[in-house]
Subunit: 332 residues, 2 copies
């Protein structure tokens, strides 16, 4: 029943087709996108006429590198980290190793490899290990010791460690981006749209040794991102007040979601405040029950006991989720 | 002197650094972008918050396919035809054959092949022939008989014919897009930004057999273009009045440019009304003379006798070019 909704979140049009209602009837909790987005200053007009300016691109990359705490020459803008992951897979051309519970694109993009459980040693050959940090959907953070051990292993065997930090802006201390260096075999991906709540912009960043960046620049050409990505991205990464406020607000909002979930006997997991995972044999029933009430959540492919919920934006949205969960229990 | 400006047009920031002035001082005639762009309706607001909607993507692709006169299932949106060309080169993995005078990306993206002169037969092996139609920078149109002969040759030898129709919207009858079919080895690229004058949007289309589209969709992922590309592209391709008016206006504007050029002893070439090519041993001197007067034109790599000029938008811009050419001649 929930198959169409496991691959990606945000499929409200599909949800309308399957469960009814119009898009505006739905509460979308199927993504990990900040529901309280950064607002561009009203005076920031987008000029779509000319080609994206190469100096503006360099400024965006420098600004983002500062936000990530990395050297600007190791950081490039990409048209979404989804596309960048797929291009990286093509460029590196190695079998992928991914955690059993991971974002589906890792397995779809990389040549078939194997699953890599959390404590396990990788096999002694060249592979591309692809991990989320924090991991999606369970929100676990990569321990620095584990990152260093995996990196040493990959460097000894001619492999690469790829860390997808699409959700890392909430907890900058957990990032391994600062470990990227010219001679290391570590690549970090960042996403603009999730923390800043503007996923429609399709802006991400690749932090990698210069040879990897050169290969990606050659594949994308001189205009890797569009004019609005340059303008909004540059302004947003400079907005230190909003960033600091949002780093405070998101955990509070996640804690409020946790209280709602616990009230209904669910045990939310995860260290990332942009989404919560619940484990219950009732996950499928819960997904369908919420969908009938026009609340879209995210089931997990191959894990029928898991359901991921994004953050409600405010009290009204939390109350709606609360009421739906209460009615669902009452209806048995 | 003009080396930095041969690869791509629109490098106004570089022009300021080299020749002085602020960006607003310059008249940019270095691109083939329509200087009188399509204007989005004022009510068309871009919602950047959610992921780009997959149904909206299908609508854009269907609308664009209608504009190109091709079947919707053979047409996909891409984040700029520049990027699409580069990804195609990677996917097809064949040596490239390009005309001696062609857009630089063809040679940069495809594995080294050879030059293919206009009447010449391609070699009897699998290659990717990459042609512009109309060709950039000389504006020549691909004759249908030549297209069919090249396609038959490529199909006999396991190669592909790739026709870059970035500038084809002005003269739809010249397009070979309608020849793309599931069993043929023909790929056509289209660009949104040039005819509609909104190059900062980075929107293009690939028209190709479904296997090629599937390979590109796998490389780009489920969100190949951003939210504004979906909204503006869909609205612009539906604006039949603007499209018809612009198809009338551009040739008139090009003819007015031709009159200015001829007045100064230059002989403009090309069937594409978005740019004009002049051949003169003085091309280098002409580029520098215009640049000193804050008019940026486009020199051609490896062809020091060529200079390409984009369209002035109006009488004032044409008068400025006219005056600069007159002063340049007077100064010797």
């Amino acid at each position: 029943m929930s198959g169409a909704f496991t691959h990606h979140g945000g499929r409200i049009a599909d949800a309308c087709a399957r469960f009814g209602g119009a898009p505006e009837d739905w509460l979308d909790l199927s993504t990990g996108i900040n529901p309280v987005p950064w607002q561009p200053p009203p005076a920031l007009a987008i000029d779509w006429r000319g080609l994206p300016d190469t100096q503006a691109l360099a400024r965006l990359e420098a600004r983002a590198a500062g936000h990530f705490g990395v050297a600007p020459n190791l950081c490039m803008a990409v048209p979404g980290s989804e596309t960048a992951l797929r291009l990286l897979a093509r460029v590196l051309d190695l079998p992928g190793l991914t955690p059993p519970l991971a974002y589906g694109t890792y397995r779809d993009a990389f040549a078939p490899g194997a699953a890599l459980a959390s404590g396990e040693d990788p096999p002694p050959r060249a592979t591309a290990i692809v991990l989320g940090n924090p991991n999606n959907p369970d929100g676990t953070v990569l321990a620095p010791a584990r990152a260093l051990a995996l990196l040493a292993h990959q460097e000894a065997h001619g492999g690469w460690l790829i860390v997808d930090e699409a959700f890392a802006d909430c907890a900058p201390d957990a990032s391994v981006a600062a470990l990227v260096a010219p001679q290391r075999r570590l690549i970090v991906l960042r996403s603009f749209g999730k923390f800043f709540g503007l996923a429609g912009l399709r802006l991400g960043f690749l932090i990698a040794p210069e040879g990897v960046l050169a290969a990606l620049r050659h594949l994308l050409g001189d205009w890797p991102v569009h004019a609005a990505a340059l303008a909004l991205g540059t302004a947003a990464y400079a907005d230190r007040t909003w960033i600091a406020d949002t780093r405070q607000a998101l955990p509070a909002r996640a804690a409020a979601l946790d209280r709602v979930l616990r009230r209904h006997g669910l045990s939310p997991e995860g260290a990332c405040p942009l989404f919560r995972l619940v484990r219950t044999p009732e996950a499928g029933r819960l997904f369908a029950m919420l969908a009938r009430r026009r609340i879209l959540t995210r089931p997990c492919a191959d894990h029928s006991d898991l359901l991921r919920l994004g953050l409600p934006a405010d009290d009204a949205e939390r109350a709606r989720l609360d009421a739906a969960l209460a009615q669902g229990r009452a209806d048995g």
